[in-house]
Symmetry: C2
Subunit: 419 residues, 2 copies
């Protein structure tokens, strides 16, 4: 087996632990210098490959690569860019092969979600479609937890821990204030299509009366009357009401609630913000004083409260991707397989990319209570292990100390290519 | 000195560490059983005193009182309620004295901000105005950090650590995404009148190019043209721009930006949310893709990322309040005095309540850069020690484990009183 170089890139929305996967890939590759030469990272995902904008990770110190394990975001830059079909855009694939050839790249590791799995799958087929020998392995990552086959997705467990922690803390706060002030608190979380993050908020409700009292899932059509009745009953019973809401909830006409109603001074629809919409509805119909928060990027970047389980799985999947490549595999994604809930046990299996690309996994209906407003015990059993354990980053001057790599560019060998 | 009981209550917006002050009061009082009998807590602040709704803290275990040190929110309930003037509402004061007499209360500890200091000051004058011997001590607390005399206010340091951590993490995130997606990220923070929390965001910007790049303070009139020019220049230089904005910024007409422009489906002005307003402005005028977050209660409840310095000071001030009472003092607030920046050293002095009540402390102009968009080194020297040190709470099932007290009511001895 001759020595080939590897290409690694990050794709789609970044997470608190995608860099832990990067560390898993790079550290494992470094331990197999007899088979893998240099790991080149794509600057800004696949765009780095197309534009021959490669980063030489061999110039980074072992300490800095290790520090990726506790650094959120995408250390090499990510992208929202999907390769077109090989039938209509053959020139993109020819360009990839030129770049791979020019830099002796035989391994392709792509770290992303469903759309990225599609890109990785297309690259994996290059041997067949274009005759270039490459092994493409997908490393799963998405806070949305919506990839098929794998029991969970790196990035999700840490968002889950963040939102459950945050809504618990805000719930304690509003409970203190309810007598003379705020009665209703609303936290908007990510997950436009799948309600996994919303469900994770529910983990905070462990004791009778503890918030969140209501969850609004994108899988459940928003029923205004039922919702308002539930808010009213909750406030009457507990004197306050804590609500977790997905950014992606829709009304019965299939319209996003966040797109309805609000106009700016110029008459444009305001984009985003289902929490203020829900808050205004409660104010108008029930008259309760409210507060709302939108966590947005804070939730997926919150490495300071990452799940230890999540960090370990992110690293292990990066490592497994390199081991799969060394074992001669192509067109697979290492996936988490759950062996038991309690004690939580898992291992890693290979999922064929053909079954991963472009498939979304939604919440099973039996993870949501019959009334549609909370999670069931089955859901709790699934979610609990994913937020287990703390893995605090180092702190300096009172703040998390994250690494910035040097990200030195590899000299270009090819003419420019318009992406 | 005969044994008298004590009254303790929490007032105004709660914080991540107000319960640490409660622990300081209760644990210190317990160590002086020869002088202080039972500490009765007011359920929901001063309302608990007026309505004779008292909690017997002596029924709580030592372990649960100690656990208050790591539990956010107000364990006994807080209130937004200000005593009226003794001249116009003498009946309120007569009622307080009836309740104090009925329960042999000789010490009054009130834990709050500026408005609460006013209430405490009025109670402190009861000896003079109504002839009832009471010692009233104010325990400072406010995330807004706007009390006079004290170098800083318990609650602020933890919010400061939270917002600086959060905006750093989100800044890393948006930097990864900027090539093909989000260019601008906006975090809205609390502090309607004083920009201390906004300033704390600035601590995250330690290295060249690191966010936040722009801060919008309530002390500085919002200049749209200058702001947009700064955003544009920042994106052109760093490819992204991270902004921290106070909920209280105003335009040149003195109107809150959060109150201008947005209307709901019924034509009502939308309340709150300056971040989406700023985001929309950037989108309309510069065309950049944006994300925004509103931290709201998450920031002041975030005990999981509390500042160790803040927790220690909150506890120490509760302890000092009891010691001041034992020393025969009345109408004072123990205050933090800074002895040096580095190494950070502080002690506690007494501030007269007459100089504390209803006085707000704003950011000095020389803590804000000349262009109005960031903090100066002087500000950084002031803020840095306040976020130093971590004091993580215990975790259980992957989540912070906070205490809920039993909060058993004391039997009432008096007829009802309408608050």
């Amino acid at each position: 087996m001759s020595i080939k170089n590897a290409f690694y890139a990050q794709s789609g929305g970044v997470t608190a632990v995608i860099n832990a996967s990067a560390a898993g890939v790079i550290e494992t590759a470094r331990r197999h210098g007899d088979k893998i030469g240099t790991v080149y990272a794509g600057r800004n995902g696949i765009i780095g490959a197309l534009s021959e904008d490669l980063i030489d990770t061999s110039l980074e110190s072992a300490a800095d690569i290790a520090a990726l394990k506790h650094t959120p975001s995408g250390a090499f830059g990510s992208c929202r860019y999907k390769l077109k079909s090989v039938d209509t855009h053959k020139e993109q694939y020819e360009r990839l092969i030129e770049v791979f050839k020019a830099h002796n790249i035989g391994y392709f590791f792509y770290n992303g979600g469903g759309d990225s799995a599609d890109t990785c799958y297309k690259v994996a087929q290059l041997s067949e479609t274009m005759g270039y020998p490459i092994q493409a392995i997908h490393v799963p990552k998405t806070v949305d937890n919506d990839l098929p086959i794998t029991d969970c997705c790196p990035g999700f467990g840490s968002v889950a821990k963040y939102v459950a922690t945050s809504i618990r803390e805000a719930g304690y706060d509003v409970a203190s204030m309810a007598k003379t002030s705020t009665k209703v608190f609303i936290l908007e979380v990510m997950g436009r299509h799948a309600g996994w993050i919303t469900a994770a908020c529910g983990l905070a409700a462990e004791a009778e009366g503890e918030g969140p009292h209501i969850l609004l899932f994108p899988e459940i059509e928003f029923d205004e009357a039922a919702f308002l009745a539930k808010v009213k009953a909750t406030v009457e019973k507990y004197d306050h009401c804590v609500i977790g809401v997905s950014e992606g909830i829709k009304n019965k006409d299939g319209k996003f609630l966040s797109e309805t109603g609000l106009k700016d001074a110029f008459g444009h629809s305001q984009l985003g913000g289902v929490a203020p919409t829900i808050a205004q509805l409660i104010k108008d119909k029930l008259g309760y004083k409210y507060h709302w928060a939108v966590a947005d990027y804070l939730q997926r970047a919150a490495r300071h409260i990452a799940s230890k389980t999540d960090v370990e799985q992110a690293y292990a999947l990066g490592k497994a991707a390199v081991e799969a490549a060394l074992a001669g595999k192509n067109s697979v994604m290492p996936a988490i397989r759950r062996l038991s809930d309690a004690p939580y046990q898992w291992d890693i299996v290979d999922a064929p990319l053909s079954e991963v690309a472009n498939v979304e996994k939604f919440m099973p209906r039996d993870f949501i209570t019959a009334d549609g407003f909370h999670i069931t015990d089955a859901c709790r059993r699934y979610l609990s292990p994913l937020i287990e354990g703390e893995d605090f980053p180092p702190f300096k001057h009172g703040l998390p100390h994250y690494v910035r790599l040097q990200n030195q560019s590899v000299a270009k060998k090819l003419p420019e290519f318009k992406v």
